[in-house]
C-alpha cells in the first residue's frame, strides 16, 4: 500500500519519517566524503582502520581456513568413498592416499622451491627478511593487495618491500600484530623507481589495476626495446636496487610528446602468490 492511499495523518507521518531517514542518509554520505578526504591526506588514518579490522578478522580467517582444510580432508578421505563397492574401496583408498601424497609432495616441492629461491636471494644479496604465507586478498577487486600471516611481532613494518625469488611483489602497507597487508605493484596507487637494465633509462613503474604495469616518465630519446628487463633503481628509498620488476611488452612513443609509455608484464603473477619474502634489512 503506497502512502498516497493512506489517511492524511498516517501519510504525513510516513513522509516525515522518510524525510528524516533521507536527511540522515545525506549526513552519513557527507561524513563518508569527509572521511575519504581525511584519509587521502593522511593515509595513516586508513591504516589504523585496517589494523583494527585485521586484528578482528585474522583469527576468524585462520579459523575458517583451518575448518575448510578439515572439511576438505574429511570429504576427500571419507565421504567421497561412501557408496563405493567394498572391493573398490581398498583400491580407491589407496589411490586417494597416493594422490593426496603426490599433491602433498608437489606442494612441498613448490614450497621448498620458493624457499630455496628466497635462501638464494638472501645468500647472494645479504638481504635479511621474513618468509610469509598469503592468507587473503582484497575482496572488492579494485585494490590489488594481499594479506600475509606475519605482523609486528615478526618485525614487519610499513613500507618494507615484499619480493619473490628476486622479483618485486609490492610493499607492506598496514601491519597488525600478527598479519600485514601488502600492496602489489600492479595496483594503481603503487609506484616503484625503476630503470631499464640494458640501457639504464630511468622511470617510474606504476600499476594498471589489472595484471600489468606501466613505466612512465621515460624520455622519448631513451633507448628501450621490447623484451628489455626492468629492474628497481633504488631511488625511491623503499625497494633495494636491482630487483626484477618485469619485461617490456609494448612501447608507445607518440610524436610530439616528451615521454614514452611502456607496458610491462610483471615477473610475479600476484594472483597466484602463496609465499612471500619480506625484506626487513637490505642496506
Amino acid at each position: 500500500m503506497t502512502p498516497f492511499t493512506l489517511p492524511y495523518q498516517e501519510r504525513r507521518s510516513i513522509l516525515v519519517k522518510q524525510s528524516r531517514t533521507l536527511l540522515f542518509v545525506t549526513a552519513y554520505f557527507f561524513l563518508s566524503l569527509f572521511l575519504t578526504a581525511v584519509s587521502v591526506r593522511n593515509p595513516e588514518t586508513a591504516q589504523v582502520g585496517s589494523i583494527l579490522f585485521q586484528s578482528i578478522a585474522t583469527p576468524v580467517e585462520r579459523t575458517v581456513i583451518r575448518i575448510w582444510d578439515n572439511v576438505e580432508s574429511v570429504w576427500d578421505g571419507y565421504l567421497w568413498l561412501v557408496g563405493t563397492r567394498r572391493e573398490n574401496q581398498l583400491l580407491l583408498t589407496e589411490v586417494s592416499r597416493l594422490e593426496s601424497e603426490v599433491v602433498r609432495l608437489r606442494e612441498l616441492s613448490q614450497e621448498s622451491m620458493a624457499l630455496r629461491e628466497i635462501l638464494e636471494l638472501r645468500k647472494q644479496t645479504g638481504f635479511g627478511g621474513v618468509v610469509a604465507s598469503v592468507i587473503g586478498a582484497d575482496p572488492s577487486g579494485w585494490i590489488q593487495s594481499v594479506t600475509i600471516d606475519r605482523g609486528k611481532v615478526d618485525g614487519i613494518k610499513v613500507d618494507m618491500p615484499a619480493v619473490l625469488g628476486g622479483a618485486v611483489v609490492g610493499q607492506v602497507r598496514a601491519v597488525s600484530s600478527s598479519a600485514s597487508n601488502v600492496l602489489v605493484i600492479t595496483d594503481r596507487s603503487s609506484g616503484v623507481g625503476a630503470l631499464i637494465q640494458r640501457s639504464r633509462a630511468r622511470g617510474i613503474v606504476v600499476g594498471s589495476g589489472g595484471n600489468e604495469c606501466f613505466m612512465e616518465y621515460v624520455q622519448n630519446t631513451e633507448d628501450v626495446a621490447i623484451g628489455d628487463t626492468v629492474v628497481t633503481s633504488g631511488l625511491d628509498g623503499i625497494y633495494p636496487k636491482g630487483l626484477e620488476i618485469g619485461t617490456v611488452i609494448e612501447i608507445q612513443s607518440p610524436p610530439g610528446e616528451m615521454f614514452q609509455r611502456i607496458r610491462i608484464a610483471p615477473s610475479v603473477n600476484h594472483e597466484r602468490l602463496e609465499t612471500l619474502f619480506i625484506l626487513t634489512s637490505y642496506n
Binding site: 552519513y28 554520505f29 566524503l33 572521511l35 575519504t36 584519509s39 582502520g49 585485521q54 577487486g141
Partner: protein
C-alpha cells in the same frame, strides 16, 4: 539495548561476510564472480530498518569494508549509504517476497554502488574493460545469490526491532 545488539550483529555479519568474500569464495571463484554479501545485508536493512539507525548501520558496514581493504576510509561507507537511501525510497513500493524483484534490485544496486565507490574514491576508469567485466560479473552473481541470502539474513535477524515494526505497520494498514 536492541540498538546495541543490532550494531554488534551488523559488525559480526559484516566481518563474517567479508571473510567469506575474501577467503572462502576466492578458493573456487574468480574475483569478478564473488558476490557482494555485505551489500545484500545493507539491502535487507533498507527494507526492514528504514530509519536513521538503519542508515547508520549501512554506514558502519561500508566503513568495515573500507577497513578491510586498508586503502581509504570512506568510499565504501558513502557508496553503501547511497545504496541504503536509494532502496529506502522505494522500499514501500517493492514486494520483498518476490525473488525476481530482489534479484533485480540487488543487481542494479551492485552496479550503482560500485560506480559510486569509483566516483567517491576518485579512481580513474583507466581500464574500462576490466572495470566493466568486474561490475557486470559482480552484479550478476549478487543478483543470483540475493534471493538465497535474503531469507537467511531475515531468519537470523527476524527478532530485530525493525522487522517487528514493519510487520506491525503492515497489520495496521491491513486492518480496517
Amino acid at each position: 539495548m536492541n540498538h546495541i545488539r543490532l550494531v554488534l550483529t551488523a559488525i559480526c555479519m559484516s566481518v563474517i561476510a567479508l571473510v567469506i568474500e575474501s577467503v572462502l569464495l576466492p578458493i573456487g571463484l574468480p574475483v569478478e564472480l564473488v558476490p557482494e554479501i555485505v551489500l545484500i545485508f545493507v539491502m535487507y536493512l533498507s527494507f526492514f530498518q528504514t530509519n536513521a539507525f538503519g542508515a547508520f548501520l549501512a554506514f558502519l558496514c561500508g566503513l568495515l569494508v573500507d577497513m578491510s581493504s586498508g586503502h581509504l576510509l570512506g568510499p565504501w561507507a558513502g557508496a553503501y549509504v547511497l545504496a541504503f537511501g536509494l532502496v529506502a525510497i522505494i522500499s514501500d513500493r517493492v514486494f520483498v517476497e518476490s525473488r525476481t524483484s530482489l534479484s533485480v534490485i540487488a543487481g542494479v544496486l551492485t552496479l550503482l554502488t560500485h560506480i559510486a565507490y569509483l566516483l567517491i574514491s576518485m579512481d580513474p576508469f583507466s581500464h574500462i574493460l576490466d572495470a566493466s567485466v568486474l561490475l557486470i560479473g559482480k552484479a550478476i552473481t549478487t543478483a543470483f545469490v540475493a534471493p538465497l541470502f535474503f531469507p537467511l539474513i531475515r531468519r537470523m535477524l527476524g527478532f530485530s526491532l525493525g522487522e517487528k515494526g514493519k510487520i506491525r505497520k503492515m497489520r495496521r494498514t491491513i486492518s480496517p
